[in-house]
Symmetry: C2
Subunit: 223 residues, 2 copies
DNA sequence: CCAAAAGTGTTATCTGTACACCCATGC
DNA sequence: GCATGGGTGTACAGATAACACTTTTGG
């Protein structure tokens, strides 16, 4: 392998994460506003160039830390983007991930060394993004739909537990479908992924619901 | 993005394909013997460096053409390999694919510009390979097991059609499982992916079996 | 006519879907 | 006591798994 062969010299990898949440009936994605070229001042997904001394997952996590200040997020592989001209600077292949976090966590940085803003956008109101990030976002959303059925990707959506009706609304929002209450409960409990906390939700004029949480160290067999 | 930033300068991508077949009760993989450094004279999976002017799939197909002379093979994404030191030359991330071909096709080149041999190896008898290809092979084999249940990856295994008992033996060989003859037949016919050719197999002392083929332009819905 | 493997049909079980009723709360 | 949403059980249907007998060929 010749290091300077022009056929493959000057390549790189992007690690890009679509960070989703669900907030009052809407799926939202976390976007950052770029400070630097290329695509200066444009909104973009969280991500950047992979470094030589880190794995893809480590790179994605570093980018998340650098661009929005969050650590410890679980990432799920989503797909590859390899159009030859997807970066104007050099040949870049993007490896993309999905992350899910609580919409109300307060520790998201609005400004960093490379970003001048960060905010949640409804999926239907996402602006034109840097690079091919609109295309990546759509693919990640499709993959999110698959992942919520086959993995425990939603386990980090609720920091303070959730009721089963709340969880159902999240599924219905993401999949744009309606489920039968009784069958949904049966299904989600049969997976043995969640457990009763013993706490009841704060009620508002109706029967209080039990608060559940995802079991620690329990993985969906499909993960 | 600074092109010469040492943090991410000098990266590249490998496109690597595990080409499988099934031959008389054994899963086999096609290996090539490398002519050049690194890993000179060692066996390896088919693959190489991605060029700047091609997509990942195009690169994988070009490598297959260059190293074993075969064109038109269908590839299925298998996984990513991203250990920092997986290549001794420079930082390389590998994108891996699965291909399946007929064991008896005669057009596989034994020697090319970069290879000095090519041969089928039983999975259980694969030698120490170049790079991390042993690890890649194991992962691709696992992925093959998943893919034969969810995709039409096997459609290129038989150039001259197959009988349903033959197909069942292939599934049983790859998955290391036994299936009920009657249920297997029912299931595979219900998928509407194969059709009767009207031909009967060459018999050998027992009842001749119908020869089937995969329907053209029919895709498993899971693909 | 016997051995070997192909081909077919029926029954039981499980999984998923559809659906009706009761319960706890605030007002 | 009524409106609102939570919680439980049962019946039906479609899919999967288990299983027994007949057919065609070569020797």
């Amino acid at each position: 392998m010749e290091v300077n062969n022009p056929l493959y010299k000057g390549q790189g990898l992007h690690v890009i994460t679509a960070i989703f949440t669900v907030d009052k009936g809407d799926v939202k994605v976390l976007l950052i506003k770029r400070k630097n070229k290329p695509y200066e001042n444009m909104w973009a997904l969280v991500g950047g160039a992979l470094y030589n001394n880190e794995t893809l997952l480590d790179g994605a996590k570093r980018e998340i830390k650098e661009k929005i200040g969050i650590e410890g997020i679980d990432l799920y592989y989503a797909g590859l983007f390899d159009k030859v001209d997807r970066s104007p600077v050099m040949r870049m292949v993007a490896v993309t991930y999905i992350g899910v976090i609580d919409r109300y966590r307060g520790d998201i940085l609005k400004e960093t060394l490379k970003t001048c803003n960060a905010d949640w956008f409804k999926i239907s109101e996402v602006p034109k993004l840097a690079y091919d990030h609109n295309e990546i976002l759509l693919a990640c959303l499709e993959e999110l739909k698959r992942k919520i059925l086959e993995t425990d990707v939603l386990k980090t959506l609720f920091v303070n537990g959730f009721t089963i009706p709340e969880l159902q609304k999240v599924y219905e929002t993401i999949l744009n479908l309606k489920f039968d209450r009784r069958n949904f409960r049966k299904k989600v409990l049969s997976l043995d992924l969640i457990e009763d906390t013993g706490i009841m939700e704060n009620f508002e004029g109706n029967k209080p619901a039990k608060v559940y949480r995802f079991k620690k160290n329990k993985k969906n067999k499909n993960v």
